[in-house]
């Protein structure tokens, strides 16, 4: 047995990957099905002189990690639907004040308290539009523990690169399932460290003046430069401003730095896509069932393919547009009333050829569920 192979829950994989990526501060509030993340970090973080703190609610949790991130920590919080709803206010603040952080939402059935111990993928739109105001967001997901490890590290890297919150949109199946994961050696996966200003103490330093490439080299809060951070529209000093030119410039900066980099941010996997005429599009746990069907049908010579999206926001429209151009049918497989399916329809020439295969009852969507929908699409009866 090698030390680097572990047989653990997805939530624990997330912990291992976060620590690998350099996590030093976690604040959270327990909620099923994400709680194992807090429990494992409560053990692990003090061992590396990091900070674990259980806050009074999810609102306080996201605020605490934002405060800690400002001082230079890599930070994370984890929650599920009801807690994610409470975090929306802080999420908007982190977007506006450009504070790197990773927010894990291990999705469960909703709305409200919903189905606390059952699977769902119904927070896809909330991840993008849960907090108020125009903004861009990065949201990522994974369907296997090995992918989850890499995507979690990616999430931390993107949070640093773009100085923005990144949402890890997991689900109950992946969070609780145990399977093998190989933990890479330190250095095997690239890590992005925080870009800091080269300005020395005493210089008239502009914390919110981005470089030409859009990246923001910020000084750690509490360090050699004193500056202001606010959730209000602000100028390059970080001071509140009502100036329309400043407001417009800031909005463009916040949105463009993410949406203009969709090609760099997009993570996805393809299976049997070269000659596929029926294309399944899926993500997270649902992609496991979708791939099960695709692999079995391929053995019978049927031309099925799968696009598994790992970046959900910004929506990788170029992937759907380019790869689905020749599809006879597209079947979106997800555990909700149809969220990603709308985005797929918006990005293909024939939206009438896009179908949804879903489950909303808290039961994990199975290959049989998908086969049943395929029968209908292929005109083989119900």
């Amino acid at each position: 047995m090698t030390q680097n192979i572990k047989f653990i829950q997805g939530n624990e994989v997330c912990v291992e990957a976060a620590l690998y990526a350099g996590l030093t501060f976690y604040a959270g509030y327990p909620i099923t099905p994400s709680t194992e993340i807090a429990e494992h970090l409560a053990i692990r973080l003090p061992l590396i002189s990091g900070t674990f703190i259980q806050m009074e609610d999810e609102i306080a949790s996201i605020c605490a990690i934002i405060g800690a991130s400002l001082t230079g920590n890599k930070v994370m919080t984890a929650t599920s639907g009801p807690g994610f709803s409470l975090m929306q206010e802080g999420l908007g603040y982190a977007i506006m004040a450009e504070i790197p952080c990773v927010i894990v939402n291990v999705q469960r059935g909703g709305p409200s308290t919903g189905l606390p111990t059952n699977v769902s993928q119904s927070d896809v739109f909330q991840a993008q539009w849960g907090t108020h105001g125009d903004h861009a967001i990065i949201a990522m997901t994974a369907s296997s523990h090995q992918d989850l490890f890499e995507i979690t590290v990616d999430a931390f890297n993107m949070a640093e690169t773009y100085r923005t919150p990144v949402i890890l949109l997991l689900d109950e199946v992946i969070g609780h399932m145990r399977e093998r994961v190989f933990i890479p050696e330190p250095g095997e996966l690239p890590l992005v460290e925080r870009l800091k200003t080269a300005f020395k103490e005493g210089v008239d330093y502009h914390p919110y003046l981005p470089r030409e490439d859009g990246r923001l080299p910020m000084s750690d809060f509490g360090g050699i430069h004193r500056f202001n951070v606010t959730g209000l529209v602000h100028d390059m000093w970080g001071f509140p401003s009502n100036n329309p030119t400043i407001a417009k410039g800031l909005m463009h900066h916040l949105i463009d730095k993410i949406n203009n980099n969709v090609h760099e941010i997009a993570r996805y996997k393809e299976y049997h896509m070269d000659d596929a005429s029926i294309i399944l599009v899926s993500y997270g746990c649902s992609a496991r069932s979708a791939r099960h069907v695709v692999e079995n049908r391929r053995k019978r010579g049927e031309k099925l393919g799968l696009i598994e999206l790992q970046t959900l926001w910004p929506f990788p429209m170029h992937v759907i547009r380019n790869r689905c151009a020749n599809a006879r049918y597209i079947l979106v497989v997800e555990q909700n009333m149809g969220q990603l399916v709308h985005l797929v329809k918006m990005n293909v020439a024939r939206p009438d050829k896009v179908f949804l295969c879903n489950r909303i009852d808290g039961v994990f969507i199975s290959p049989t569920d998908i086969r049943n929908v395929l029968r209908v699409i292929q005109g083989r009866g119900v």
Binding site: Y93, F227, V229
Partner: protein, 269 residues
């Protein structure tokens, strides 16, 4: 004593109304910091939303202007990361005790080393005079046009019960006492609360026929009394000023650090 060096002059004039008490609190806070001789780089000011919260913008420290009610939660993240810095959280009464009430009692319960200066003007001033949890029964506000039927908190008692290890109250009239209390609170190792009765002539005094700023400040003189005074026994309606709580309790960051140190020793063995 010059406190000008602490001010970000570039961002003046401030937004406060004529006669507002908040400028007096700012002044007292800066005098306290000046007297303590703490360098500007060692001071963090975290604030929420409201008139009082604008203090953070005006001072040349590390300043974090956050969300309504959430300042203490942000401050907790900063303090746990940089326990060596002095964290001061100027708050309004609504900010601290309505929307932020939960964060307030939990910060007190943890006894994390920071100073909450609650500037109690008994009203939501910035948004035009809606009642707050400190407005008090029978008073008027734009959202209590007939009379307020909500009872108010006693901030000192609430803080004591929640676990704060330093609790004091004074007013903008008693500026020397205020400065001394802020000094003590900053030096105190644990969660400290300084409640300051601070007049809002525009949105509280005017609507409740209390006169202007001068009359309101005079009332702070006549309606308050030192803790345990004879006057209080004779007239229980008087509001007590002074230090209500000053006790030594384990401080949160130190306790957390002790766990880390213990684990380090454990792994060395």
């Amino acid at each position: 004593m010059s406190v000008k060096k602490f001010i970000r002059e570039r961002f003046f004039p401030h937004i406060w109304c004529q006669g507002c008490g908040h400028g007096i609190v700012l002044n007292a806070m800066l005098r306290a910091l000046s007297a303590l001789g703490i360098s500007k780089n060692e001071i963090v000011v975290v604030s929420g939303i409201g008139c009082s919260a604008r203090i953070s913008g005006y001072v040349d420290f590390h300043t974090l202007h956050t969300l309504h009610g959430r300042a203490l939660a942000f401050a907790t993240g900063v303090k746990m990361s940089l326990p060596g810095l002095n964290v001061i959280v100027p708050m309004g009464d609504g900010d601290a005790l309505a929307i932020g009430g939960n964060h307030f009692i939990h910060a007190a319960r943890r006894n994390i080393d920071m100073t909450a200066i609650v500037m109690n003007n008994r009203i939501y001033g910035m948004t035009g005079g809606q009642f707050s949890p400190l407005t008090g029964y029978g008073m008027k506000a734009t959202t209590a046009p007939y009379k307020n039927i909500d009872h108010d908190f006693d901030i000192a008692e609430l803080s004591r019960a929640a676990g704060a290890s330093y609790v004091a109250r004074t007013t903008t009239y008693h500026v020397q006492q205020l400065t001394e209390m802020i000094k003590e609170a900053i030096l105190h190792d644990g969660f400290s609360v300084v409640e300051v009765l601070s007049q809002c002539p525009t949105n509280f005094g005017r609507r409740n026929k209390m006169g202007g700023a001068v009359e309101m400040m005079e009332s702070y003189k006549s309606l308050t009394t030192p803790i345990g005074s004879k006057a209080k026994q004779e007239n229980p309606a008087l509001i007590e000023r002074g230090v209500f709580v000053q006790r030594e309790l384990p401080e949160y960051c130190s306790e957390y650090n002790a766990i880390i140190e213990k684990l380090k020793k454990g792994t060395e063995k």
